[in-house]
């Protein structure tokens, strides 16, 4: 029996209007989603569709102006930030390491939701941090300085830090952005594996083929609305992608007729 730990109902977000600058600017509205344990929900859409704002609303970092997010059937705003951080882990986009912390120290910071204001991580926290590194397959990097890592390795460190929070829900904002093909696939593999282990995963992405790879559910966003929601193989049709992205792309199927990727006609 699968459950929906995180549910969004009629969610809308509008940046507050500034004095004398006309009406507020709507980012998205009427978004309803259910996040399922043990599977990946991919949020797809062109630039400016509202993907990042949506995932921040789901993470409780932004407060939606319409509708509500429910965590375990209770409104998200009734939880304290600390309570949320024990259930929902968020991996932001484009965070760069500033000081050369060791990888294990960065991952240990994921234990913050469980430590008091005056505490420093104990041995048990260290063990949990190392287990998190093990889960994403980079245990060997524990003693490395995070400023010496490649982009793909750093992304995996951030995912490990999120796992050290021992969350039920993992939110990732464009985890494959700025990575080369090999690192993209490695990160996607880890995300897929984490979903199989029972986590509810939400991840925004620019690449429709990533949604196809991750399977689960996909939500296609365009101009602040969800235009399609369902199995990636069902909803990601050539016609719909053309309409959303405004380019003549085709869905490519494998021998059994399962969609596996996209292609663009040759430029003339």
């Amino acid at each position: 029996m699968r459950t929906f730990p995180l549910v969004a109902r009629d969610l809308g977000f509008m940046y507050q209007e500034r004095a004398g600058k006309g009406t507020g600017h709507g980012v998205f509205s009427g978004v309803s989603l259910e996040v399922r344990s043990g599977e990946v929900l991919s949020i797809l859409g062109p630039n400016g569709a509202g993907k990042t704002t949506l995932i921040k609303c789901l993470a409780g970092l932004l407060v939606p102006t319409e509708g509500e997010v429910a965590l375990h059937d209770k409104p998200l705003h009734t939880f304290t930030r600390r309570e949320i951080s024990r259930e929902i882990a968020f991996v932001p986009q484009g965070e760069l390491p500033l000081f050369p912390y060791l990888v294990r120290d960065i991952v240990e910071m994921g234990r913050a939701p469980f430590l008091s204001f005056f505490a420093v991580p104990a041995e048990t926290d260290e063990v949990i941090a190392l287990q998190a590194l093990e889960m994403v397959g980079i245990r060997h990097l524990a003693q490395r300085e995070c400023t010496s890592l490649s982009g793909g390795e750093w992304q995996l460190v951030l995912i490990a830090r999120a796992l050290a929070q021992q969350p039920e829900i993992l939110l990732l904002d464009e985890p494959t952005a700025h990575l080369d093909l090999g690192n993209q696939m490695r990160v996607l593999q880890v995300i897929h594996h984490l979903a199989l282990s029972g986590l509810a995963v939400v991840c925004t992405t620019h690449a429709p083929d990533h949604a196809l790879l991750l399977d689960g559910t996909a939500a296609l966003m365009d101009k602040g609305r969800i235009t399609a929601l369902g199995k990636p193989a069902d909803i990601l049709t050539s016609a719909r992608l053309r309409e959303t992205y405004g380019v003549p792309v085709e869905i490519v199927n494998d021998e059994e007729g399962v969609p596996v990727g996209i292609s663009h006609p040759r430029f003339l």
Partner: protein, 351 residues
Amino acid sequence: MTSSPTDTKCRSLVRFARLHPNVLYLVLLIGLGISVIIALVTGPVLVPYSTVFRLPQTLIGLCNPEGTDQSLTIMEIRFSRVLAAGLVGAGLSVSGAVLQGLFRNPLVSSHILGVTPGAGLGAACAILIGASLPIIALFSFIGGMGALCLTIAIAGTRSAYGSIMLVLAGIICGALFQALTALVKYLADPGDLLPSIVFWLMGSFNHLTPAILLYASILILLPVAFLIAIRWQVSLLSLGEESVQSLGVDLRTLVLLILISTALIASASVAIAGMIGWVGLLVPNVVRILTGPDYRILIPACALCGAVYLISADTLARSLTFYEIPIGIITAMIGAPVLILLMRRETGWWQ
């Protein structure tokens, strides 16, 4: 980036400090002891080394020597200076380190929030009206804390975290207070008041009274102890704002507590010793090479190193020439070249 042999040596040092912080603290404590003893026996009047060992008994009042022991009296005076220098050095270094983490910028110190210029203005005003030493200290403390309030008010409560707004507001306040200080100097009688103001602003441990020392010690020690206690929370601030919040940290409260603590330290420091620059900027950047960026080790190490540094700088200020050199000049003269060395070593620093 290629790593030179010195880099590798520093790496292994960092690793050692990370694994055995207590050994590092012990070494620094021994260094502190040595710098205190040197400071006690150095000065225009020569005193025998043996007096150093009689000092602790006198201080806790175990034996009450007849008032004729001149060397002991001199050493007691020197000891209060050493205490003040140690406290101010530790405080400024810790607050510099913490603010650098908060603003995610290694070039920040308590100057950036306008606190030090505000405290300087307070002191200058008090000297202008011919106030006594305790009143000068009080004014400068009020000036510093007032500057923090003004900075936060200008930045607005919404942008609580390490934002550009806070830095900009701090720079604006600092510039304003410096202009007002210049005005006070202009108004001051060039015969006696102007030199006093100028000397105060250069920094010195020359104008201590027991009462000032007592209150300032409390106002520096409490926030330093608090910052040491929350050192891991300070570490978290090195992450991005969204990460910190998604880890369940109440960012606004944490930032406010840090701002108040560092402002207390800076204001109390100016109140006892005038404006001493470069400590909060230099010490954390040097210590970071020894300990790495981990605030769990960096903050206690900064407290110890800062104390050693300012005690030694004060010893130099007292003994280099026949007249005492203002300590602010000494710290700037040491700070500038060392920072240049750091810049050349850490190639990625200003790029």
